[in-house]
């Protein structure tokens, strides 16, 4: 996933508080130069803040790739409970550890 200026702005406030002018048919208009603020109670973030904000979102997302991979591979909660019931905690922990080892935390 690649984060954009719009993603960062959406993380700041809800509603239709911002928009972009010079609308085209290819979304290229969604850039800082075209940014307008519709809500007088909200301030326009600086371009450097936006650039840093997008970078931080991207870094956070990329840094949690291991967690998303683990989540996709863990057995369902129902299967894990069944594993605990039939095989005990240690066996369940061994199953979970297999996935954790496969996708180590950086």
């Amino acid at each position: 996933m690649t984060f954009t200026l719009e993603d960062y702005l959406l993380s700041l406030h809800s509603g239709s508080w911002f928009g972009f002018t010079n609308v085209t048919n290819d979304n290229s208009y969604k850039k800082y130069a075209n940014l307008v603020i519709h809500d007088d109670t909200k301030s326009k973030p600086s371009e450097s803040d936006c650039t840093a904000g997008v970078a931080a979102m991207q870094e956070d997302w990329d840094g949690k790739a291991y967690a998303r991979s683990r989540e996709a591979e863990y057995p369902s909660i129902a299967d894990q409970l069944d594993d605990i019931y039939h095989n005990g905690i240690d066996a369940w922990k061994a199953t979970i550890k297999t996935t954790k080892d496969k996708h180590p935390k950086p």
Binding site: E6, S14, S16
Partner: protein, 227 residues
């Protein structure tokens, strides 16, 4: 046969066609004395027809070509316009609703061509260009984070207080998945100054996607008949 003028006031002995052409005028005929049996087929042409009462057009009527009819009121869709959400709107994070107040522009997609007159929009409130029955729809694409999304179509008949027309909710939105919501309503626009519509958003699923490539969230307005 000899022609005999009788003392009883009658004439006998006349042959069919025995009177000279043009000698019997309207005054000679008694009132209401000629019925259809005395007319040959096709004898009454257009120039001899007076205005026909509507009451005479009853029962099984002959097929009349639509091309022959005039002065018919306008039928079908006379106005249709498509509007896009050009920037994403952040959902308000709760189950309550908030107006979508900006970033709505008429479509500029190459395949799009408006029929009739366009809507006008100000701070998210859409005004109709003419009275009539209008079919209004809103299609929303939700996404951005785990949660649910809500959309609502609202209408006013006094340009002040709004009532719900339709509400929709989707709970499939997540960071990588999308949810789709649809609202629509038939609006009887009797007064373009007072009957207006707007759209609202709510929920926790992050946002309604806005943009032109692809156009993910859009609003359509179709005038489908006279009010």
């Amino acid at each position: 046969m000899a022609i005999v003028i009788n003392g009883s006031g009658t004439v006998t002995g006349l042959s069919v066609g025995g009177l000279p052409d043009g000698t019997v005028d309207a005054g000679t005929l008694a009132t209401n004395s000629v019925d259809s049996a005395e007319l040959i087929d096709g004898a009454v042409d257009d120039s001899h027809m007076a205005a026909m009462a509507a009451s005479k057009l009853t029962g099984a009527l002959p097929a009349i070509s639509g091309a022959s009819l005039t002065n018919l009121p306008a039928q079908g869709i006379t106005d249709y316009s498509v509007w896009l959400l050009t920037s994403s709107v952040g959902l308000n994070g709760s189950s309550s609703f908030a107006d979508i107040t900006a970033n709505q522009a008429e479509s500029g997609q190459p395949s799009y061509s408006r029929i009739g007159s366009a809507m006008t929009v100000s701070s998210g409130v859409f005004t109709f260009p003419s009275t009539g029955y209008w079919l209004v729809t809103g299609h929303f694409q939700a996404g951005g984070s785990q949660g649910y999304a809500r959309a609502q179509l609202m209408a006013t008949t006094n340009n002040s207080s709004y009532a719900e027309v339709m509400r929709s909710q989707d709970e499939s939105g997540s960071q990588s998945d999308y949810g789709y919501l649809q609202v629509h309503g038939l609006i009887d626009v009797t007064d373009t100054s007072n009957v207006k519509v707007k759209f609202q958003q709510g929920g926790t699923a992050g946002r309604f996607d806005g943009g032109t490539s692809p156009p993910a969230t859009q609003f359509t307005f179709a005038r489908i008949g006279d009010t």
